[in-house]
């Protein structure tokens, strides 16, 4: 079956430091990966959509300078939170879409980021 792994599951970083998180698709080819953030007491917000062989599209309020993303192949994507501050805390979800499955997105368990 299709699975999405995220690493780490939980991390703590000091304010002003950076933190990299990874997303791995297993059992299918992830032609596109969406990164979402769920801030405390809020719903999920799309940060960016990354499609292999295409430019990464960032949503309003999110930039490449703050959340650089790498999507080198059909099974792996990573995102870094640069200069993390309190407002960056939350659960970061990776959603991967399978080639040929236009309307199905598999979510990983998320990386929970706590900023001190």
């Amino acid at each position: 079956g299709a699975l999405v792994y995220q690493y780490p599951r939980r991390t703590i970083c000091k304010s002003g430091t950076s933190m990299r998180m990874e997303c791995q698709a297993v059992g299918f080819q992830a032609t596109s990966v969406a990164w979402y953030r769920q801030s405390p007491q809020k719903t999920f917000e799309l940060i960016a959509l990354s499609t292999v062989n295409s430019a990464i599209k960032y949503e309003q309020n999110f930039t490449q300078e703050k959340f650089p993303i790498s999507h080198p192949n059909l099974s792996f994507s990573s995102m870094t939170v640069l200069n993390a501050y309190l407002e960056d805390r939350g659960l970061y979800l990776c959603g991967a879409r399978e080639r040929g499955r236009q309307d199905t997105q598999y979510f990983g368990p998320g990386t929970r980021l706590l900023v001190l």
Binding site: V4, S32, A34, Y36, K42, T43, F44, E45, L46, L49, L93, G95, R97, Q102, D103, T104, Q105, F107, G108, P109, G110
Partner: protein, 114 residues
């Protein structure tokens, strides 16, 4: 931009009673895709239902929903709640056929009691 509005906050039910979680949406797209995701404690959201066909009922695991474009609604229903249905439910919208760029509602917590 696109937006999704759900039944706010917490819905509590006694086991065996019917479930109804409201979802309405706003979108510029004429053929939106609507989704219901369920998130249990400490787990990631899992797809429960999806639809893009107007007035067609879609069912899965005892839950059902019908997309009504006339009222921009995609309410989630179940005839009889079970304890295991207790979870956080998200209604989500995609304006594209890819279903990748999702706009989530704020989520509704469903708690089912004996």
């Amino acid at each position: 931009g696109d937006s999704v509005t759900q039944t706010e906050g917490l819905v509590t039910l006694t086991e065996g009673l019917p479930v109804m979680l409201n979802c309405t949406y706003q979108t510029i797209y004429s053929n939106p895709f609507l989704f219901w995701y369920v998130q249990h404690l400490n787990e990631s959201p899992r797809l429960l239902l999806k639809s893009f066909t107007d007035n067609k009922r879609t069912e899965h695991q005892g839950f059902h929903a019908t997309l009504h474009k006339s009222s921009s609604s995609f309410h989630l229903q179940k005839s009889s709640a079970q304890l295991s249905d207790s979870a956080l439910y998200y209604c989500a919208l995609s304006g594209t056929s890819s279903g990748q760029k999702l706009v989530f509602g704020q989520g509704t917590i469903l708690k089912v009691y004996l």
